[in-house]
């Protein structure tokens, strides 16, 4: 026997296979369970492959279905997400509208108390120049606004001076705000009744100044005292708040006091204003 031959090399494995095959054969013969039907045998063998192929086909079909399903789910997801975003926007709009409604309701309630004809307006633009402070409102001569009409606003329950009408167009008006250095308001201290003249400081961050307050008033003025319009300048009606005393300047060589006033109106978040027509008493009707 050739010791380097194929069978010799695999003799152990072949022996095992032979033994196993023989054992099976014996078993089948002994138990008589092995009756060969060629058609059934062929069918059984091929149907096994059929199962295999069917499994593969199902695998691919399910995969394809899954992809289609995923695609459908993705488009549904996108649609739902868009809908959700729409709802979120609607919700945001509702919140904004609710808060705007609240502000307008407050404004309406407060304007009902006014004895003069009044024109509620909205600020639509600001001064493009950095050296002047004015803003534009959405009401003009067609709404009955004319030059030098006083402009007020409501904030935190206070009725405060905003400024006066500087220029009027048919649909818009320009307002000179109290904080402008060109704006002067005849004023008085609410408690001590001392009078003076308020002038803007020239910017949102600059305090306004009340001048020409007699020195005798020094002892009676407290920090935080309210300053209001006196009604003497024929532009602003009396008793509208201007601000609170922040500091008191008193120089020996000057005959008057100079008070630094913090405006009652926060001009940085001013949205709505009310223009007053002090020549006409209110009839209860407010122009739209």
């Amino acid at each position: 026997m050739n010791e380097t031959g194929f069978l010799f090399k695999r003799r152990r494995g072949l022996t095992l296979l032979a033994a196993l095959f023989l054992s099976l054969l014996i078993l089948v013969v002994d138990t008589k369970s092995f009756t060969i039907n060629p058609a059934q045998f062929g069918y059984s063998v091929l149907s096994t492959f059929q199962i295999g192929f069917a499994g593969v086909k199902n695998f691919f079909r399910e995969t394809a279905n899954s992809i289609t399903e995923l695609r459908r789910l993705k488009s549904e997801y996108e649609a739902l997400r868009e809908k959700m975003e729409d709802y979120q926007l609607i919700q945001r709009d509702i919140v904004n509208l609710r808060s705007e409604n609240e502000r307008l309701r407050t404004l309406l309630e407060l304007t009902e108390e006014l004895e003069y004809r009044h024109i509620p307006s909205r600020i639509i633009a600001k001064d493009p120049s950095g050296y002047f402070h004015s803003f534009t409102i959405n009401k003009g001569s067609r709404d009955g606004i004319s030059k030098d009409m006083p402009v007020i606003a409501y904030q935190q329950g206070f009725q405060g001076v905003v400024g006066k009408i500087l220029e009027v167009g048919p649909f818009t008006s320009r307002v000179l705000p109290l904080i402008s250095a060109n704006c002067y308001v005849s004023s008085r201290l609410q408690n001590s009744r001392f009078e003076g003249l308020v002038q803007g400081g020239g910017g949102i961050n600059h305090p306004i100044v009340m001048r020409y307050v007699v020195k005798a008033a020094r002892e009676e003025i407290q920090f935080g005292d309210l300053v209001e319009t006196s009604g003497l300048d024929s532009i602003y009606p009396p008793d509208i708040f201007i601000g609170r005393v922040r500091s008191i300047g008193s120089k020996e060589w000057e005959p008057d006091l100079e008070l630094s006033i913090e405006p009652i109106i926060d001009f940085s978040r001013l949205e709505y204003v009310v223009v007053l027509d002090i020549q006409t008493l209110s009839t209860g009707d407010t122009p739209e």
């Binding site: 633009a125 001064d127 493009p128 050296y131 402070h133 020239g202």
Partner: protein, 168 residues
Amino acid sequence: MIRHPAVQIIILTGLLLLETVFVRELGFIGFEPGIYLVFFIFIAHAQGSMRAVIIGFSIGLAVDFLSAAPLGLHSFSLSLLGFLSGTLRGKIFLDPIFMPMVLMFFSGLVNLFTVTLLIAIFSLSVSSHPFSASFPWILLFHALISPICFGLLRLSGTVPLNIRSEDR
């Protein structure tokens, strides 16, 4: 088409109007941004002094109309600024970042000096002096946004890519 002065005046006026409406939303920066000025400087620089004066005058007049400023204040200052900026056409090369910042910084400074001079000469009562506390911030802001504005103008075809070579 977009290089025609009339179109540029319309664009700058539109920008100015937008700024007046949206400046309230930009209030958090603490000063009036004046972005139209940055666009104006680069347009003026690209157009040359003659056209720049016309554009500057028109835009200045629009600013005067829209603000509480007396008529003529901004039209004067922007005409002068347009002329100076236009004179530099072909004399300086605007790279994408550095030179626009320098040009804008000095243009802003010249504008402030001009307005200050006019305020003093005509004894104008202003709300906020040009050299108030915020002026360094305004100059810095304008200088910082100038590369972006300049880039936008270049992309839109309003400002030619190489002004120096076009001049030759």
